[in-house]
Amino acid sequence: MVSPTPLQAFSAVPKAPTKTSKQTLVDGEKMTGAQALIRTLEDLGVQDVFGIPGGAILPVYHQIHDDTKFRFVLMRHEQGAGHAAEGYAVATGRVGVCIVTSGPGATNMVTPIADANMDSVPLVVISGQVGIDSIGTDAFQEADTVGITYPVVKHSYLVTDAQDIPRVLAEAHYIARSGRPGPVVVDVSKTAQVGEMYYSWPQKMILPGYNPTTKPHGHVLREAAKLFEQSYRPVLYVGGGAMRSNAGAQVKELADLTDSPIVTTLPARGIVPDSDPKVLGMLGMHGTLAATAATQKCDLLVAIGARFDDRVTGKMDAFAPAARVIHIDIDPAEIGKRRQPDVPIVGDVAEVLDALNAEIKRGQAIRGATNLKPWWNLINSWREKYPMKYDEATPDGTLSPQWVVEELSRQAAPSTIWVSGVGQHQMWASQLIDFENPHSWISSGGLGTMGFGLPAAIGARVGSSRDFGGKKPVWLIDGDGSFQMTSEELAAAFIDNAPVKIAILNNSVYGMVRQWQTLFYDKHYSQTSIRDGENTEDIINVPDFVKLAEAYSCVGIRATTQDEAKAAIKRANEINDRPVLIDFRVYKDAMVWPMVAAGQSNDTVTYKPGVQPLLHNDTSDSGSDSSADEPQTDTDNAIVAAGAASTAQSEK
C-alpha cells in the first residue's frame, strides 16, 4: 500500500475515477435465472440429475424439457435423491447433482449432504428458496438451508440475483470436484429464478480463498523415500482419498516397488484387486486379522488418502505404536489431526505417488531394494492361521449370512458394482466379496447412514448405463433394517429403469446393534427386533419383502435354503429389465468377526470368541504357536468374556 504524500493527501483532485460497484452486463443472451440454471448445467456437461420438485423451485423445473441435455431421475424422497447422486458420483467419478425444493425438500437433503461430506463425495445440491422479500419472515416452506448445512458442507451459496447463477454454479461444480471433493449447496431464491439476466459462457470464477495444493514439494518426497529405505516392516494404509484421486495404479506400483503390504479402509476396498497377493484387506474394527496385525506391528505406516478414523485406529495412542508415519493427503487439515506424521505430504494422491515412486526408483537404482522376507513370512503366517472364516451351518437352520455374501460374490460378473447399507451385512460384504475393480464398492463409511443402499445403488446403476452401457451390473447387499429406511425408492428403480439387484440379508433384527447388545449389554435386546422375517407362526412378519417388491413391479424372491439361494441368485443375474429383490432368511445371531471393541487398542483384536492373537504376542513366524487358539483369561476385555459365553451357542 503506497502512502500518500501530504500534498496528494490534501489535493482536491480525485486520484482515480471510482468504479461503480454494480457492473451493468449487457453481453450475452437474455433469459430468466431458471433458464440460466438449466443452461449452466448443460454447459457444465452434467448428464444426469436427481431430485423432486416443489413450489419454490418450480421456475427451474418449468425449464426442464424433452430436449434438455441432461436426464432427470425422479426419486421418491429427497434423501434418496441425495444418496443416488452420491452413488452416481462414486461410480462415475463425476459430480452428482440434485435439484430439490425449499424447506422440507432441503432439510431432507441434510443427511446425504453430511454423508457426502464425511466420505468426500463430489455433490452439488441445488435447492429452491423463497423470494428475497420473504427470507427471514418464516414464510411457507422457508428454512435457512445455508445455515442448517454450514457445518456439513464444503461450501454453500445463497443466490439472490439471477445474474449470479451461471458463475455460482460453475464455482460450485469446480469446488465440489477439485481438491478434497465434497458437497456444495446452492440455495437459489425464487427471486433469482424468475429474475432476468444475460447469459454467457464460460464464466470467470471468483474464488480468491480457494487454492487447493495438488503438487507435492520435492524435499518431503526425498524424506519419504529415505524412510522406506530404513524400514523393514512397512505398511501402506490406503483410504478413500486414494479412490477419489483414482490412484489405484500408483498404489500398486508403490507396493510392488517397495514390496509393501496394502491394507485399506472401508471406502478403499478394491483400490488394488483383492487377488493381488499384496492386499491384506480391510483393517480396524472389523478388518482382517492380517491387516490389523500388520499395521500394529509395522515400523513404517504410509497413510495414503486416509484420515485415521477411530473405526480404523481403535484407541489412538496404541495404534501402530512403533511406526514412523508418512501421511499423504490433499487436505492439509487432515495432516496432524489425529497423529503427527514424520513426513507430511500435501497433494493429490496420484500426483504425489507418481513423484514418490520416481524418487524411490532413483534411490533403488543406487542402493537396491530392502529385503522384506521376514516381514512377509510373519504376515503370511497370520494370513494362513487367521483367514476370514465363519460357520456355514447355523443353529436354527437358516442361511449363514456370510455364506450368502460369498455366494453372491462367486456368482457375480467381475465387473459388478457392489453397494451396501449399514450394519453387519456391510462388514461382511466388505470382508467377503472379492473386489477386482476400483470404484466398484459404494458404501457409507464416515457417517454410516442406514438407508444409503437402495438409492445409492440406483444412482450407481444410472451411472453404469451412462458410462458403461449398463454392462456393469449393480448388486445391493442390504440389511432388513437399512432397506426399510428408503425402500420407497423401489418405485424410482422400476420406473426410471434402474434394474438393480437387491440382496436383503434378512435377520429380523438390527443385527449390528444386537451384536453390541450381545457383547456389551448383557444380551438385553432392547428395541432391536424388527420382526420382518420371523419364521415363528405366532410372530408377525412385516413387511413381506417379496410382496413389497411385487407391489413396485419388481421381481421378489425368497430364499431359505442354500439351494434356493443359489437358484435365486442365478435368476437375479439373468433379469435385466427390472429390479430384483431376494429376501435371504439368515441367522440372527451370526456375528461379525474379527472385532476390536470400540475405544480399545487394536492389539485386543478378537479373531473369534476367545482368540486374541495379538495379546498372545503371536508375532513369531513359526506357524506352530498353538496357544493362539486358547481362550484368554488374563484380560478384562469385555469382548472376551461375552464372546466366550456366546461361543457355546453359536459355534456348533
Binding site: 500500500m1 460497484s21 445455508v146 445455515g147 454450514y150 457445518p151 461450501h155 451459496y157 445463497l158 443466490v159 439472490t160 440475483d161 449470479d164 469446488i175 471468483i206 474464488l207 480468491p208 480463498g209 480457494y210 489412538m316 487436505d331 492439509p332 487439515a333 496432524g336 489431526k337 489425529r338 497423529r339 503427527q340
Partner: protein
C-alpha cells in the same frame, strides 16, 4: 494427539488475525468452527479494513498449540477466509477499547480522577454517583486500570475485544487478490 477441550485454564493467549471476504454469513461459519471444537474465545472483533472487499476478524483465545494449528487449518478450508496469522505479541500492536462505569461520589471522585490522570485515559460521562471512563490500550494496561478501579465498585463494564496489527510498513492484505463479489 487431539486435545479437547482446546482451551484449558493454563493455555497460552493467542491472537489470530483472519482476513475474510466481506460477505454475509462469514462470521457464522467462523464462529461455528470455534464452537464445534470447544475453543473458548476470549474476545472477537470484526470490522471493515482498508479494502472494501475484505473484513478482518481478530480473535484472542487461551488455547493449546495443537488444537490451535488444527483450527487454523480448518479455518483455511473456509472459502471465504483469505489469510490467517497467529500474531506474535512482540511483533504486533494490540489495543482494546473499554468503557467503565465506576461508582464515584463526591467523597472519592477525586481519587478516581487521579487514577484516570495517571493512566492517561478519559472521563466521558459524569454523574453525581458515577464516572464513565474510556480507556484504550494493550491488555496489561487495561487489566491494571481495572484492578485499581475495582475497589470503588464497577457498575458496568464493556470491552471492544482486541484489535491488532503487525509493526512495520506491510499490510496483511498485500498479497490477497480481491474478491470482487459482495453478495453471498
Amino acid at each position: 494427539m487431539a486435545i479437547y477441550p482446546a482451551s484449558t485454564p493454563h493455555s497460552e493467549r493467542h491472537t489470530l488475525s483472519v482476513l475474510v471476504e466481506n460477505r454475509p454469513g462469514v462470521l457464522a461459519r467462523i464462529a461455528g468452527l470455534f464452537a464445534r471444537r470447544a475453543f473458548n474465545i476470549n474476545s472477537l472483533s470484526v470490522s471493515p479494513t482498508e479494502r472494501p472487499d475484505i473484513s478482518r476478524v481478530t480473535v484472542t483465545a487461551d488455547v493449546e498449540q495443537v488444537p490451535l494449528e488444527q483450527i487454523i487449518k480448518q479455518l483455511n478450508k473456509l472459502l471465504h477466509v483469505l489469510k490467517i496469522v497467529d500474531l506474535d505479541n512482540t511483533d504486533a500492536v494490540e489495543r482494546e477499547l473499554v468503557l467503565i462505569k465506576v461508582a464515584a461520589n463526591e467523597t472519592n471522585r477525586s481519587d478516581v480522577l487521579e487514577i484516570v490522570r495517571l493512566f492517561r485515559v478519559r472521563v466521558v460521562d459524569v454523574h453525581p454517583e458515577s464516572l464513565t471512563i474510556e480507556a484504550t490500550g494493550a491488555e496489561g494496561k487495561i487489566d491494571a486500570l481495572l484492578g485499581l478501579l475495582h475497589d470503588y465498585g464497577i457498575i458496568e463494564l464493556v470491552r471492544s475485544g482486541a484489535v491488532a496489527v503487525t509493526r512495520g510498513p506491510h499490510a496483511l492484505s498485500e498479497k490477497v487478490v480481491g474478491s470482487e463479489i459482495r453478495g453471498r
